[in-house]
Amino acid sequence: MTRTKLTRTRLGATLGLLGGLAVAAPLAADENADLVINGDLKITVRAEAPAHLDGALSEITSGWIYRSDETQQLEMDDFDNPGMIFVDQAMDVWGTPDGTEGKSCASCHDDPAQSMAGVRAVYPKWNEEAGEVRTLAMQINACRESRMGAEKWDIVKSDMVNMEALIAVQSRGIPVNVAIDGPARETWEKGKEIYYTRYGQLELACANCHEDNYGNYIRADHLSQGQINAFPAYRLKNAKLNAVQDRFKGCVRDTRAETFKPGSPEFNALELYVASRGNGLSVEGPSVRN
């Protein structure tokens, strides 16, 4: 009798706690908001899913719509967007000669506003000469090594990520359109396999969160579709721009797996596949996320 009573009391307390949690609603995100930067640059944050997804997603959406109102607003004005500081820093590097050839990026590519327009939208891309799919970071490093005679950059460190942001910003508003046919097909298939493979002690594939559960909460995190159209992303948690493959690493680590290394063939293939899932969304980087 006493025992039953005790159990009932405990149960009552537990229910009370759950009720309390349900009332404390998570931070609001306006999933129907539209993104316009600086009052005139329209960004496509919702688009028809590309054909290769074969109905896996009804609509593709940028991660921007899942963020809180305050975070969304930071991206709507370049002055408020802390990521633009790093674009400025990369602009200084763009014109600074480096390496044995005494060349800078500007020596060949002149003004990035012209030469880099639309570039971000089509990477990763098959490179005929090298016989491989190249991410934007690989292409930058190839340029640095062969044309400038300079040291490669670490692909997740600030020099590289800032430069990617400078290149991305020239394509803002242009729809992502990476090619997945022809010679890139093999790499794309490999990336797709990784996307749907469960990793780690938690046995989670990318798809378990970002295809099956986007819009839902995983503890305090509001899950997005894991689109990468908006990278590099300025994260409020570490106050710098973050490379997409660094984000991949963080995600795989959270499944309690040994991760692939940024720059590995596995992550390069995954970057191509995930980019192709966003074909139709605008290039948005540098974005602001939490």
């Binding site: 002055f79 408020d80 802390p82 500081i85 400025d88 820093q89 106050a239």
Partner: protein, 109 residues
Amino acid sequence: MASGVKPRVKAPKTASAGEVVTIKTLISHPMESGQRKDGNGNPIPRSIINRFTCEFNGESVVDIAMEPAISTNPYFEFDAKVPESGEFKFTWYDDDGSVYEDTSAVTVS
């Protein structure tokens, strides 16, 4: 000395007399708090912007004392009334003695 410091200001170029305008300012700065240690366990010395001021034609608009808990790249947004044509002058004071300045002219039409 802190590297990569660059002040930025966004303020309107024109206003009507007596109009209240919004001014946004940002300075890129590491804002090293002095609480952290480097790889060898030695404290990293404090290096922050400790004061920010804005003046309009010599008259003080805001004067802000800043402390080590303020994040990297400090951003300030505030309103100011524009009685006449003139110039906003912004000044940031660094722990290392450096002073960074920027100005923005506004015309009353």
